[in-house]
């Protein structure tokens, strides 16, 4: 609880400080509302991360290091946590070919030369959640964050959250599974 509170205070202080005293724009990421669909015993969840990969990110993607974006999905029924998953989208650039290798969750990797395609793929969250018929109404919380990345050539580890002003975008939604088609 204190960690969450600390993160929120830090994000608030950083945002206010930057608004007042910095010309650095950074990124102000936010997650659009979660859309749902039912396929058999799976609940298909889809959301999109917006304004997340503009300033500074193109040169970070082009570094050649593997850049992950984590999505933490937590499902509550009442006050009980019934499911918790981390889905990671990654991008890795090959400077010799100029091709990005993209991986979305557990899906097979795709390759592209387009930086726009990279942004779109990293920003897309998709997950099929196996649900139990007894769940009925569930609270779904989705939160995105960036990890510390180790740059091997320079042997340096840097926290990418600075580019998001230490703000973890999240969304909460109440889903009535019986009403999802």
């Amino acid at each position: 609880m204190f960690e969450v509170l600390g993160t929120k205070i830090l994000a608030g202080v950083v945002s206010l400080s930057m608004l007042l005293f910095s010309s650095f724009k950074g990124n102000d990421p936010l997650i659009s509302s979660i859309s749902t669909a039912k396929t058999g015993s799976y609940l298909y969840l889809k959301a999109n991360l917006e304004n997340a990969f503009e300033n500074d990110f193109p040169s970070i993607f082009a570094s050649g290091s593997k850049i992950p974006v984590h999505y933490d999905l937590v499902v509550h029924q009442g006050s009980r946590t019934v499911a918790s998953h981390r889905i990671t989208n990654t991008v890795k650039f090959d400077p010799t070919t100029g091709i990005y290798e993209l991986k979305q969750g557990n899906k097979s990797p795709v390759f592209t030369e387009s930086p726009e395609e990279v942004k779109r793929t990293l920003a897309a969250f998709e997950y099929s959640l196996a649900y139990q018929s007894a769940w009925n109404k569930i609270n779904v919380k989705l939160e995105a964050h960036l990890p510390k990345v180790h740059f091997q050539q320079l042997n340096k580890e840097l926290d990418l959250m600075v580019l998001w002003k230490y703000k973890k975008p999240s969304v909460k939604t109440l889903i009535d599974i019986r009403k999802v088609f």
């Binding site: 040169s59 320079l154 840097l158 990418l160 600075v162």
Partner: protein, 384 residues
Amino acid sequence: MFKTGLRTRIFILFIIVSIGGLIVLNNVFQSKHQNIHDALEEMELSSQLRELRHFSHEDSLKAQALMRNFNEAKAVVSIALSDSRTMSSVVLFIIIVVSTSIFIIVLSRLSRPLRELKNATEQIRQGNLSVHLPETGIPEMRELKSSFNMMSRELETVQSRLLVAEKEMIWKDLSRILAHEIKNPLTPIQLAIQRLEERMQSDPERVKDILAESISIISQEIENLRLLAQDFSNYAKVNQPNPESIDPALSIQEIVKSYVRDFEIKLTLEEGLRINFDKTHFYQVVTNILQNAIDASEPSVAIEISLYRERSYAILSIKDHGKGIDTKDLQRIFEPYFSRKTKGTGLGLALVKKLCEANSTIIRVKSKPGEGSEFILIIEAQNQ
């Protein structure tokens, strides 16, 4: 107009000099970082290297390593710059919040004792010398408060000594005056009694011849003693005024009635004026001043009493053409027991002053030795 206090001015100065300076410094820093960042964005190596033909596998590996190194360095520098700009603004924000808080606390700790000192000084000015400040706060303030407490204690001691000395002086003066005033009638009484005793021993048959005269002297002097006691009593017990609406012209005419048979008194009284004054006090004030004027004048020379309205005041002037008052005495004539007359206690004008103050009236004196004196009463008139 809005007036800024010392604390506000110090605070504004602090904001301008300290925080303003930091903000300017931060802006310069941010701007330089932005320039470096823009230059970094312009740097591109990979695409050109990819277009080169590499003749050997070794060249290709070297080019790959170069590209990876360059791109990583660019990414790391870019993140480091962003991090540095973010951190500088956060640090500046924290410095501003913390330094402003500390500044306000320090300023308040400094100004609170000053406010206490100001209030204490105000109390001393109003006569409360027993005020003492708690010796708390920073050492310099403790020292200042300690000095202040010492000063107030010394003032208190000096004041109590002065009070004792003043009381002693008043008692001495009073005793001297009382002794003198009592002795004056006692001497004729004693002489009258001695004459009677001597006559009774030498010629008892002719006691009758001097009896009436002696009794008259004794009776007169007893009356003088009674009047003396009356004067002291009047001065000691000036009651709270009981103001009522009176016609001053009418009151003056009534007072003057008993004097006009023996003395020349010229009246110029505006009629229709009304004032708020305790009737008894008004009688005492006018009688005392008039009696003084009579004592100072020759019986044939007129005393002028005039009453007129000036703006919202009734002006009463009692003017004689007697011997006047010396300039050096003029300031002391309202002091109790001060008198240059051979008879009297010196309480008459002191009583006049006291009664005037009790009835919110201003009294002024103009006098020139050899030309006479004029006592002017300025009394608030009622609206007509």
